[in-house]
């Protein structure tokens, strides 16, 4: 009798397990059809000569690594460099400002008022359509636009200027747009990190007479380091995908000599305009390897982070969620 009952319950448990597979079917079917097969297809084309001239389609013909050779002899390294420059121009001020804000917002002694208002305002640009934001800045910085107007009225400049004709002008404005879109987001992530630090450490430091600077450099920063690095890497993954703002702001041209052309803009041009699927495939594979490596670092960081405390791990998961839930580009 007893034996029979155990067998019955075991049978029941087994039959529930099958529901796990059933409920996963939609996810994995769609994943395979719309992500995995397309990805493999992309890999495949990277080894084929496959492009269109006018209405004539050439290929696909197997050419081995020819596409890779071509893109590396071409401009891919330059565009990778541009992407990196744009990311650095943005990430340095972004991390600095976000770190300061995160510390200030959580500083008990400072006891700021209206933090909710500031948090709401600085997070706001994050939800704006990047394409429209790029367009807006193109209008704002136009030769007869409001920014030039204001600078001339205040006597800072005497002549109108075309920001699109300046290599570093364009780069700085793109970085500024990205900064505005992402520093609020980063602030909220880092705040979660700062708030995860044991408050008794701060109390002890205050009693010992540690000032704001000392506390920051000797307590906050070292304890925040893992989370700080984590945020920087995930932001690099986003930075590699920089597209919308740069594309629209420079009208797809990438400014002077393509000096602000990013990897994604290059890919977009290969697929959309020149219809060179072979080279586009090779660029996609390079991008895949790049982001996959970075992702794997992040993954390893969160998974076997034996050195990290439970709390840190939790915060990192949180940050991962946050970054991820935006599924767009970040700088």
């Amino acid at each position: 009798m007893n034996k029979r009952m155990t067998i019955n319950t075991r049978k029941k448990k087994m039959s529930y397990a099958k529901w796990g597979y059933i409920l996963l079917v939609p996810f994995f079917v769609i994943f395979i059809l719309f992500q995995l097969i397309p990805l493999l297809q992309t890999f495949k084309y990277s080894f084929y000569e496959y492009y269109s001239i006018g209405l004539q389609e050439i290929g696909p013909n197997w050419v081995g690594f020819a596409n890779y050779v071509k893109i590396f002899q071409g401009s891919i390294l330059k565009y990778a460099g541009n992407t990196l420059i744009l990311w650095i121009l943005c990430i340095i001020p972004q991390m600095t400002v976000s770190l300061l804000l995160a510390v200030w917002f959580t500083d008990i002694r400072l006891h700021l008022k209206g933090t909710w208002f500031f948090k709401t305002v600085i997070y706001m640009p994050n939800l704006v359509m990047a394409a429209a934001f790029g367009m807006l800045f193109q209008m704002l910085f136009a030769a007869n636009g409001p920014v030039v107007d204001m600078l001339m009225d205040s006597g800072w400049i005497t002549e109108t200027f075309h920001i699109g004709q300046s290599v570093w002008g364009t780069r700085w404005v793109i970085a500024l747009m990205n900064f505005l879109m992402w520093f609020g987001n980063t602030t909220i992530l880092l705040m979660a990190g700062v708030m995860g630090i044991d408050t008794t450490v701060y109390e002890a430091a205050t009693i010992d007479g540690s000032g704001a600077f000392k506390t920051f450099f000797h307590i906050t920063m070292p304890l925040l380091m893992p989370i700080f690095i984590y945020v920087v890497i995930t932001s690099l993954i986003g930075g590699v995908q920089l597209f919308d703002v740069a594309q629209i702001f420079t009208s797809g041209s990438g400014a002077v000599d393509g000096s602000s052309k990013t990897l994604m803009m290059y890919l977009y041009k290969l697929i959309g305009t020149s219809r060179n699927y072979g080279e586009a495939g090779a660029v996609s594979v390079v991008l895949f390897l790049l982001t996959a490596t970075l992702s794997f670092i992040v993954f390893a960081f969160t998974q076997k982070s034996g050195k990290l405390s439970k709390k840190e791990k939790k915060i990192m998961k949180e940050i991962e969620l946050k970054e991820a839930s935006k599924n767009g580009t970040s700088c």
């Binding site: 409920l23 996810f27 804000l101 002694r109 006891h111 700021l112 704006v128 839930s325």
Partner: protein, 299 residues
């Protein structure tokens, strides 16, 4: 998230602080407020200029910038919506349709997938979940080329299917939902429902979905916004003017000659593209910013 000084900590502060450090604190606080106000102005100013300019005529915008509102809002509005080259009303409907479908599919199927990972102990559970975490960070734009050529093969160009259906497999949302379920959903709840004779799907719809409601709301907003703002892939797949979404209309302005621009109309177009979402954000901001750390608050 709000930090409120507790009486205890205030005492420590008073015990410890001489008059000098109090003065320093006030000085620091002033500097901090100045920086905060500066940053806030930087965030608001572009949108302020946008809204001001959408109420001014083309002529007055070209005359120079002004901080005061004009009275051309109505006229700019009607110029924009009556322009036959810019199917604005249609684009809004298209964007609303795509974003709503995407958001609904994302939250429903992500909840379902998260429930499967949370509830059942099947053979490849850990393997599949780890696999999902691994692919989570790899951007989908990388497979755009393959997806595009497949769509061309199967007659799905200029269709909304490749824009909407992939939302069913959204690893990020699944991850969020699973974290949430892990922290709030006791397994005994499901067991109890089983004893009452409920089927697995019914348990999902009548117990799990209501439990997930706060997480669903947050993810609905994020996936709606993500789809609303999406530009890269739709720009490759959509071909006919009547199927265009708002970002494509905005980008389409680039193709036209800037000297013939009616600036009032262009600013109005950007206002329509940006401001409704910002208003929605301002209404829900408390909820959105808190939602980010939802999983941890409950855990």
């Amino acid at each position: 998230m709000e930090q409120v000084a507790k009486p205890n900590e205030m005492n420590i502060e008073i015990d410890n602080s001489a008059k000098i450090s109090n003065g320093l604190l006030i000085g620091r606080r002033t500097i901090v407020y100045i920086i905060l106000v500066f940053l806030a102005v930087m965030c608001i100013l572009p949108f302020y200029i946008l809204i001001v300019n959408c109420t001014r005529s083309n002529f007055s915008i070209q005359q120079g910038f002004s901080f005061t509102f004009g009275d051309y809002f109505g006229s700019n509005w009607s110029i924009l919506f009556s322009d036959s080259n810019i199917p604005m009303a249609r684009a809004i409907l298209n964007s609303l349709f795509i974003s709503t479908c995407t958001a609904v599919l994302t939250v429903y199927f992500s909840s379902l997938t998260a429930f499967a990972f949370h509830q059942y102990r099947f053979k490849f559970r850990t393997f599949l979940y780890t696999f999902m975490l691994l692919i989570m960070m790899v951007p989908t734009t990388i497979s755009s080329l393959g997806l595009l050529t497949l769509c061309a093969q199967y007659g799905l160009m200029d269709s909304y299917i490749p824009l909407i259906i992939p939302a069913i497999a959204s690893p990020i949302t699944v991850f969020y939902m699973k974290q949430y379920l892990d922290s709030v959903m006791p397994k005994s709840l499901v067991e109890a429902a089983r004893v009452d004779g409920a089927g697995e799907l019914r348990i999902f719809h009548e117990i799990v979905l209501p439990v997930l409601k706060p997480a669903i709301a947050v993810q609905f907003i994020f996936s709606f916004v993500g789809s609303w703002n999406n530009y890269f892939f739709p720009a490759l797949i959509i071909q006919s003017t009547s199927n265009k979404t708002i970002p494509l209309i905005v980008a389409g302005l680039q193709a036209s000659d800037p000297t013939t621009f009616d600036l009032g109309k262009v600013y109005m177009l950007m206002t329509v593209a940006i401001i409704p979402l910002l208003i929605m954000y301002l209404i829900l901001s408390k909820f959105i910013i808190k939602g980010v750390t939802l999983g941890s608050v409950k855990g």
